[in-house]
Symmetry: C2
Subunit: 431 residues, 2 copies
């Protein structure tokens, strides 16, 4: 049983959701045609923010790590979508090697891996786990809190193919975002499907490139249903050659923040929004909510103290931050029992397979809930995202979730185009 969501929504979002409802047929047809031209990523998840006047994606993850948080009632959807994904990408595959993140003690993450394994097995794949951790030198079984187990095995490179002892997989699926770069053992694989392609990893992926593609997708889509693209699209700017330790580029960053805040203020005036605008400064490469800062005034980035500079200068795997994206902040106006709640939508192939809220009682509406040490409580969506119900109001659960699913799919489409457009030339691939 999933608790009901208590929301405190203002008029404009209802109007936006109503627009989605009224145009559901055009929306689905438009999506269908887009997916004829672009290969959907194998899987992905989108973090959304719902401010009442705006419903927008703020992150698109190509290595989703929360399948364990989805509503079990929608497992069949997940299996069906995974079948479609496998058929599209590696239709003959018999054996699949799954490479997870190097977390061996994070029970939540391990349960995500276990869920993913069970879904993939039901698509007709023999699935085993290969670890990038050097200390995994023999099959190592991890006990999960829910009583099940996972066995990590050492990877074996044989020529241009990757496998395990007695295991020659047709396909390799990464659930590891490659933040630390591509390990040599993954380079130059041949005659084996590698999903997603290496350049989808955070070692080369840039939030700003995704945001620029999303900007185009949002404009095209907005024209189809006749809305201002700003309603679904956070404004953004980029600032490179930053060094937080050395305080290099601080002024340029402050100017960029100032310019973006000015653009947002203008939009707020247009929509008669009385909230205080804010922006979020994030490392352009990187994930896990590291290197993220909420800013309401440019002066805040000028006078960063040592602790703040340290926090901003390093992301996952200890990488230094030199480029940041400054993204329009979208207030979180949804709550569950008075706690701030942010939706995360999960997709496989181009299908929405579920989602959950990150629920946190101790954070404000303009703070990031996906941050290190933040123990959010996941609350699975109670209905699926593909069954809007025109007989109910735009804020009824099926319609709210439909709206989430639409915006999440727009971000997924942007990721698909981003992967296409950032595909390295063959010469680079061979290097």
């Amino acid at each position: 049983m999933v608790p009901h969501l208590t929301t405190a929504l203002t008029g404009p979002l209802l109007e936006l959701e109503k627009r989605f409802l009224d145009h559901a047929t055009e929306i689905e047809r438009w999506m269908r045609v887009q997916w004829q031209d672009h290969l959907p990523p194998f899987y992905g998840s989108t973090d959304l923010r719902n401010s009442g006047f705006k419903l927008a994606p703020v992150d698109l993850n190509l290595f989703p790590g929360g399948f364990n948080n989805l509503n079990d009632a929608f497992m069949p959807l997940c299996v069906q979508a995974a079948q479609a994904a496998i058929e599209r990408i590696c239709p003959d595959a018999r054996q699949l090697l799954l490479i997870p993140e190097n977390h061996t003690r994070n029970q939540f993450y391990l349960q995500n891996v276990a869920k993913l394994v069970s879904v993939l097995q039901l698509t007709g794949l023999d699935v085993r786990l290969g670890s990038l951790l050097p200390e995994i030198t023999a099959p190592t079984t991890l006990e999960l809190a829910n009583g099940s187990t996972l066995t990590l095995e050492p990877l074996e490179r044989r020529g241009a193919r990757l496998g395990l002892a007695d295991f020659e997989p047709c396909a390799v699926l990464l659930n590891n975002d490659l933040s630390g770069g591509v390990p040599p053992i993954l380079k130059g694989l041949d005659d084996q499907w590698l999903i997603p392609p290496l350049h989808a990893g955070w070692h080369v992926r840039r939030k700003s490139i995704h945001a620029a593609v999303y900007d185009r997708v949002a404009r095209d889509f907005a024209a189809v249903i006749g809305i201002d693209p700003w309603r679904i699209n956070p404004e953004f700017g980029v600032c490179s050659q930053i060094d937080f330790h050395e305080r290099t580029g601080e002024e340029r960053l402050a100017d960029e923040v100032d310019a973006l805040l000015a653009r947002i203020r203008e939009k707020y005036r247009e929509y008669e929004v009385t909230e205080t605008p804010f922006v979020v400064v994030k490392a352009d490469a990187g994930t896990y909510g590291m290197g993220v800062m909420t800013v309401r005034d440019a002066s805040e980035v000028r006078g960063l103290n040592r602790r703040q500079r340290n926090k901003m200068s390093v992301v996952k795997e200890g990488l230094e931050v030199h480029e940041v994206i400054i993204q329009e902040g979208v207030h979180t106006f949804e709550t569950v029992d008075d706690a701030v709640a942010e939706p995360v939508v999960y997709m496989m192939d181009h299908y929405v397979v579920g989602g959950f809220y990150r629920v946190h009682t101790e954070r404000a509406r303009d703070e990031n809930l996906n941050a290190p040490g933040m123990h959010f409580k996941p609350l699975a969506f109670e209905t699926c995202c593909s069954l809007p119900d025109c007989r109910q109001g735009p804020d009824a659960a099926p319609n709210r979730f439909y709206a989430y699913g639409v915006v999440a799919r727009l971000a997924l489409l942007a990721a698909s185009i981003e992967i296409e457009e950032t595909m390295p030339a063959e010469a680079e691939l061979a290097a």
Copy 2:
């Protein structure tokens, strides 16, 4: 809430279901590879019989008429599968014309149509209903028992395209099995998707051809999981040039029945089955359970009285029967509250989207529950058919339904091959 199913199963089926469970990965992979080579029908339904020692399809319908009987909890599966079907067959389609059966007073059938419309709309299609009934000369709105409405409109033929007033559909979907032949208005359509193709209609389709293809599919599949194909495949024979009124071919039919019963008896001895074998004599073309007779001894077809001869000689649309298929009868050993229950599995594209039991208190285990005047009670499947659970026994609901889904998909695959192999030559199509 769906009531639990009470079954009275003997050992052998548990062993068969266990075999499916143990080989689920191979099964799913085999299915995936088959669907690379064969185009799945847009939709289909399979009637299964579950005798404890045998789980077999006895009918495959390419114009399913019971979507209203499916569990609403699986509507998202249905929508997702319908999206896949539309993408595969008519990816650019914007408008779809649905042509239903000519039943304007059958509330159950009309609710099926309404359900189908709502599923198709969610795939991004503008859907309208065109009627083949001559009395529909203007848009006619039918009230449904559940409060919704359906509007039937007169078809308009414009050159090589079919439409309605102010409606130029990209695709035409038949939910009419064409038992009475192809109406001229449907012939020679060009530049428009016609789904399924005309030769899937009962005016040319033959149960015996389907059975012959299923026989091959069942053999191939049985080899993959190491079972005797008989466990999933009803034996059959064919008898043509029959005239029940004139008693022409009666002896040949009796001989065929005798030979088939002898084969079944031998199998029963092999499997130590103590039930009385029976066969079902059916019109080779035709549906709706018309022209169907249960026979335990060849003598029964020799001495048919006038009423029986009348019953066998005519099927839907008043067509005369001249060819019959004699199919091994499979006892129905499943019950719900002591009533005989027969599973029907629904599929769209190659996905199982749900199913229901035909439950009837007044029929015996060797009688056909899909017959005129038979008011079966539909009981929707309580779980989906794609999530077998190895931690539970083979007779647990998810595993029973998985077994149904596997056998139903085999029948669907046979239908796909049947449609390929019976495709008319271009010259015939142009005629």
